[in-house]
Point group: C2
Chain length 507, copies 2
């Protein structure tokens, strides 16, 4: 059809044939032809909403993984000829599923014929990015007209009650069986009272029991600042919505790191509050001993202003000694270590000393045992009757939880009492610095048990101690988000938030 139309005057021979050959290869998902029509070598470029790909190999791997492009028809082309061997083709496409796309390609004639050296592709968006959101509105729930958070917008993790809506907990079957909530969760009500609007209900990992943000039911939310990598979880939707500027406040929870991990991986400020500092009414629990309300923002000022609304008054100010835990830092990858070290250096007055326990793996195990036991108690009746509705990783955690001997749980609970005292003693009245996550956000294939274990060794410290923890976003030398975590004694949430606000000059 269009390929056989007469060519506009002055176009280099073969250019439009190559353009249409590419289009045909795309529609038939002919990977070999697509590879051939993209220039070989490390300088070839392709960009779309998910991020830039540099090099033929990266582009080829992307194509191989996506299972074909959406069906489309080219409805308009504009060609800019640079010279006989170079031209730009800009096209408008109409997608069979509705909507339009824009595409810009730079073509070059080489020995083997015309190839694309750079491509920029965009397609119209769905009503809702359902990887991020379950429901959203303009707003979904309006806040009161004035208040300290007027003008702010909130993504509510799908564990908190929003009146009139169900709690979905990241599982479609759970959602389908859930009754509409009759009142807002207490925290949601306080944010509305303070003038913030609720924009919508954001995705969570299933029952909040993951740190990666890779809910298979709905797809992993994107990570805007670490393209094609995982967003971090379980407060994944709230985090991504905040990174994307779709909201200013991402409300989440943190049991074993579910605020801190996405904050670190997405370059957000985030706080996990002290145990019981913020009420958890009408919030679906995972493991009540460790569950804590938390939130994420793009700037520390707002992080603190939300704290002013949600947190109880501060205890009197304590010591401001800041200690970088060198042994915890050693658990991080070199790029993250370097970022944290640089941060500590620019702070200047940081004491460097080991946190000092050699039992992190045991602490983590005690944490996991008690967490699992509580999660099972919380969800057994539902999970036991519908295990097949769970994704494999979370199902595996519930199954392991169900198999735990009661004696093991009792022993873990008992040892936790001692560990909690130990943690609090070691932190004392100081500010502890540690890497929030041991690495930058992994690619989906890299999110393994070993990373999870190391992560929990860092994150479970605050969980066990019931301590507040604030992520300060850093970047590695490669420009990828990571974070340093400020941890303090229970109740010092506001101290940490105030301190965080003074740190932007160091970043």
């Amino acid at each position: 059809m269009a390929a056989t139309e007469p060519l506009p005057d002055g176009l280099p021979a073969g250019l439009m044939d190559a353009f249409w050959a590419y289009e045909h290869a795309l529609m038939t998902d002919d990977l070999e032809a697509l590879d051939r029509l993209f220039a070989p070598g490390p300088g070839t470029l392709r960009t779309d909403a998910a991020g830039m790909l540099v090099g033929h190999d990266a582009i080829s791997a992307f194509r191989g993984g996506r299972g074909g492009a959406p069906r489309r028809t080219v409805v308009e082309t504009q060609v800019q000829v640079v010279d006989d061997d170079n031209a730009l083709v800009m096209a408008v496409t109409e997608l069979t599923r509705g909507g339009r796309g824009q595409q810009t390609q730079l073509w070059q004639r080489r020995a083997g014929g015309w190839v694309v050296t750079a491509a920029h592709v965009a397609v119209s968006a769905p009503a809702l990015d359902t990887r991020i959101w379950r429901v959203a509105g303009d707003p979904l729930v309006a806040g009161f007209e004035d208040g300290p958070l007027a003008g702010e917008t909130v993504a509510v993790k799908d564990l908190y009650a929003v009146a009139g809506h169900r709690i979905g907990a990241g599982n479609p079957s759970y959602l389908a069986a859930a009754p509409p909530e009759t009142r807002h969760a207490r925290v949601v009500g306080r944010l509305l009272d303070a003038g913030a609007d609720v924009t919508g209900i954001a995705r969570t990992d299933e029952f909040a029991w993951s740190l990666f943000g890779d809910n298979e039911h709905y797809g992993a939310p994107p990570n805007p600042h670490a393209p094609r990598r995982l967003p971090g979880g379980s407060s994944s939707g709230s985090a991504t919505a905040t990174s994307l500027g779709q909201v200013s406040i991402g409300l989440g929870t943190d049991t074993g790191g579910s605020i801190r991990v996405p904050s670190s991986w997405q370059g957000l400020w985030g706080i996990r509050t002290s145990r019981n500092a913020v009420p958890r009414d009408s919030l679906l629990a995972l493991a009540p001993t460790f569950d804590a309300v938390g939130w994420m923002t793009r700037d520390p000022g707002l992080l603190a202003r939300v704290g002013d609304v949600l947190l109880p008054p501060s205890p009197p100010p304590a010591s401001s000694d800041v200690v970088l835990a060198t042994d915890l830092l050693a658990l991080a990858t070199p790029d993250v270590r370097a970022a944290v070290e640089a941060f500590a250096r620019s702070w200047g007055t940081v004491i460097r000393e080991p946190f000092g326990t050699r039992e992190l793996a045991e602490w983590r195990q005690a944490f996991v045992t008690v967490q699992s036991s509580e999660a099972w108690r919380q969800h057994a009746s539902w999970v036991a009757s519908r295990p097949s509705t769970l994704t494999p990783a979370v199902r595996g955690r519930f199954e392991a939880a169900a198999r735990q001997p009661a004696a093991d749980v009792a022993r873990a609970a008992e040892s936790l009492t001692g560990i909690r005292l130990d943690v609090r003693h070691r932190v004392a009245d100081r500010i502890l610095l540690l890497p929030t996550t041991p690495s930058v956000a992994p690619y989906p294939g890299q999110a393994d048990q070993q990373l999870r274990d190391t992560m929990l060794e860092l994150t479970s410290i605050a969980g066990i101690g019931g301590l507040p923890a604030v992520n300060v976003p850093l970047r590695t030398a490669d420009g990828l988000p990571c974070g340093v975590c400020l941890v303090a004694a229970p109740g010092r949430d506001r101290d940490l938030l105030a301190l965080a606000g003074t740190l932007t000059s160091l970043l």
Copy 2:
């Protein structure tokens, strides 16, 4: 900062200086510098999600109208050098409001320095395109598991009750005062019963009293198939959501053309049903004498399948004579006339004769008088106390309605009885063909009273007659959507839908 960094080896002199100068001009909205940095002439290209702009003048006009680009920082650049005078720069930006952008520019060195000859710009999307949607979910309301519309998705115009949600009617103050609905509108309930999911509640013009789709409170929804032009209204959000493939069914209403106009302007199939053929329970009225349920789809098969669910059984088949109303055709612009003529020619068996009335302007006036009177009766109590919350055009219509002498309304109502008989007599048992709209979608500045008047002369015929009307999407020679309207006697909705299904081979 980055502008003073050492340049990568091998980059043409001055290229990156120009790149950063452009970035600076963009951030300061320095229109003169931006104009200078884009190549002059008709071949310069710029594309983004709103569509392609061709030529320096079009790009300059666009910039002048938008009031600055969002604040951003360039976080990554990749340069492809074509030769000393030509290079492509691909950049990733981070927006101050959150999210990322991608940008591809082709630069050329000319006598006056480096200029952009082509640019492709994309930024991350908001949670919801609030020009299209007030609320959306995955889904917002799930349909029953099986049924003839299982797998289909519906955008519900913000006049229909969706249980648990308010009716907003396109006006923020009305929305704020509205109570949550306790049950679904009857039509919404039937669609759910048939297995369709409700994706969300879509924007409408204020109280459905416009044909342009330019609700100033929320911004006009985009028109994907006629970029930067108006979407048509008042079922504007439902139409755009359907065009974009965000839903398969756009549920709307049609009083004076509110289904037919957006269908014509966006290339959709759309039906306005016969008077009282489909119940209007829990649907906010505008002018009950003319109000009709309607819907839009991207293909005629689904248009008919929705009819199977919503419409009463057909009367026995009537004549299949098809008449192209030559006098009504003459009201259209030449491009639309040509498209309708070509369609009628390929159909082949179409009778060409005038519809025959010389009183279209009087009919329209009678229609408008009665419509206004009913709209005022419907909304006076609300509008009278809050006129300042209405946009000027709709406010003007309500104010004119309030001023209408009762005697004029009575006279118009009486004459309508005669006109209705006349319309039905002229249509009789035949299929009437007329241009759905007199022109393609106008640009915002072109949507004037004259266009509205001519449009109403075409659309009020079915409104007055209580006739079913189906838009068949056509394209002008320029590729812009327009439509031909099939009109028949009351109750022949299913006939029209079946007939529409046979017409795709003509398009």
